[in-house]
Assembly symmetry: C3
Amino acid sequence: MKKLYLKDIQPFLDKNFVLVGNENFYFTNIQAAENVNKETLDWVNPIKNNKLHYILNSPAPVILCEKNIQDTIPVQTNKCLIFVENPKMTFLRIANKLFLKSSFDGINKLAVIHCEAEIATNIHIGPNTYVGKCKIGAGSVIHGNCYLYDNVTVGENVVIHANTVIGADGFGYQRNEDGSFEKFPHIGGVIIEDDVEIGANTCIDRGALGNTIIKKGAKIDNLVHIAHNVVIGRNTAVIANTMIGGSVTVGENTWIAPSASIRDQVKIGNNVTIGMSSLVTKSIPDDEVWIGSPAKKLR
Amino acid sequence: MKKLYLKDIQPFLDKNFVLVGNENFYFTNIQAAENVNKETLDWVNPIKNNKLHYILNSPAPVILCEKNIQDTIPVQTNKCLIFVENPKMTFLRIANKLFLKSSFDGINKLAVIHCEAEIATNIHIGPNTYVGKCKIGAGSVIHGNCYLYDNVTVGENVVIHANTVIGADGFGYQRNEDGSFEKFPHIGGVIIEDDVEIGANTCIDRGALGNTIIKKGAKIDNLVHIAHNVVIGRNTAVIANTMIGGSVTVGENTWIAPSASIRDQVKIGNNVTIGMSSLVTKSIPDDEVWIGSPAKKLR
Amino acid sequence: MKKLYLKDIQPFLDKNFVLVGNENFYFTNIQAAENVNKETLDWVNPIKNNKLHYILNSPAPVILCEKNIQDTIPVQTNKCLIFVENPKMTFLRIANKLFLKSSFDGINKLAVIHCEAEIATNIHIGPNTYVGKCKIGAGSVIHGNCYLYDNVTVGENVVIHANTVIGADGFGYQRNEDGSFEKFPHIGGVIIEDDVEIGANTCIDRGALGNTIIKKGAKIDNLVHIAHNVVIGRNTAVIANTMIGGSVTVGENTWIAPSASIRDQVKIGNNVTIGMSSLVTKSIPDDEVWIGSPAKKLR
């Protein structure tokens, strides 16, 4: 493993970071808390209770700590403590850049690509994934066993996890005179903008006539259902097992907790928080927190 | 695009439809409301608020309208307005017949079919779908990445969307003396009758000893769990993320809204409506509406 | 079909079983109640209402009954009634041993296995399943269309049903100064211990830095989400459509009913029962029953 010194991680630190201890220490790995060793870059999670105790007991030579506890920590000459505003963010940036290798190894030979699909270079498409008449942007990763129907547009730097289905027909039927269902035509598409990540075994249906749209930077978890003609706003998170009904629109920077269920046609604003297992039957204005079943505004 | 005139769509209109305006106009396409153009067949959704305004502003030459607003719409000489009972149903029939092409292109060369499976002609089975020792009826479409275990019978004109699993073992265990689970044998099958449609990433388990049955014309959405030995009645709809427990029976023409959860052994009648996110712990007679968690009869 | 006599099933009976009737009768098959015939091994489900009526009307020659009804059943000379403590358990053991054939037919030629994966002999891996840099123990069955990312360890005698995804990245993001999400690195693994069974279309995410662990004998149903760093205890059941948030720990012999949702970081004890559709937001001590949304201790 390569030895990494202060100079290697300085680009990821706050400009006014504070270093206490021996600045010549190095690390070679990152680890779960229980496996931290004498060559680990460690960090102190701000939600931990006894941070001094954690630091004293960590075998790691280099530890990222939050700035506002600096005064409470005695100098450790056998460690290099680095104080920053947000040690979790600093840690994740270092880990992503220095420890994760990208996987743009092209189209797996067992992926199935429609002859009219337009695929950028510098992508990864996993085994047994099917890509219909779609566009896939540069830097995107589609893991294996996914199924993209025709008319799905995937932007740049998108990640789609395994076994996810994008562009299946929406659930739109009319009962006829006999009581049996006739199906509304679903000929729209799905647009996934840049920097979106989508979990495993998730379903995003095509629009009926228009499009279903997932905007830039939105993050969708596993086992989520997003129905036809939904719009999910920028930097919004939709967590596991959530169900979003047809033609729902969700604004920006909104957080939809796991197992929520949102009625069709509802409009959710920006910066909204929806609680776990909430049933949302009404539209929600910007900046509100709603919880419960049916969901109500948190006082 | 082919030009379509009144004579082409007349088979889909009510016998006593009323045409106001120029009957020689034609259309060549169908579109989402925001993309309607000078060659579109448009329609006025009965749930829209200002229908006259919509009609006046639509660039479409031919528009399907509901009969009961006919008196409120001034004659438009630059349009062909066609008044029918149910413009949405009329539109969907025209769209399905004249704009959707069927996709019965046979068994994809990357599908895997058990040597004893019986597959009708005039079907489509997508790439990477596995079909065990099953029967598949004429006119059925099974999209890619599905997995059908042995002993699944699929009727005619069935559609199964991508990544759906049919015939996995049900969840049936007995705790033994040690507290560990022993598994009840699951050797039953699944019967999917004609005209059923099943969404993506859905699971329909096999019966333990008997069968799990989805009756004619039922529609199942994405991410639905249907446990062992369930019976879903004719023309019943089960919407996304719903969980139906073991040996539940559901009658005809029933509507189970998204994210519902139905306890095992429960019996649901005909023409029942179950609300979103409802938890159904008791049997429900015909013709009732139940909502809530636990669900209660709506007064 | 082979004729099976008392001597063939005696190894599966209680030591002090009681046989009433003709001990020379045989059976050749097992069936759903509605299909029982003159050569079936039948059993009386203890939850049935009129057990005498069931026995008198069963055409089966050999019937397993619960010991505590023995005195209420008149002798049937045309049948062989076998009284045991737990006829369902006895039946399932006989059925599993004498009527189910194992399917250890190796790695399907359409499965895709990473060149550094370590796969035991005596396993089954189905078509279109992908196995990354993983270990798979002896006697395990992974059905088709599954996707196992790198760093998944599967023990012995594990069953994983079709289209399940193990080891996808967890949902861990930090909002940065711009409001956009940056991703926490997910480089941990998943450990599935011996005798675990996992349903179809289920997702078990890898740990962020440590591991997600499913302990020996746990049973996970279809469409379940298990987030990063979760620990599920021995012989615990997690039923369909349940959502278990990040870093949750669940003890032994616990039962989590369908459609439950458990908040991240929560600790659930041993021998706990969580009701259907419950929303668990707090930790639960051993031996308690919690239901509702939010869940509360059942008095």
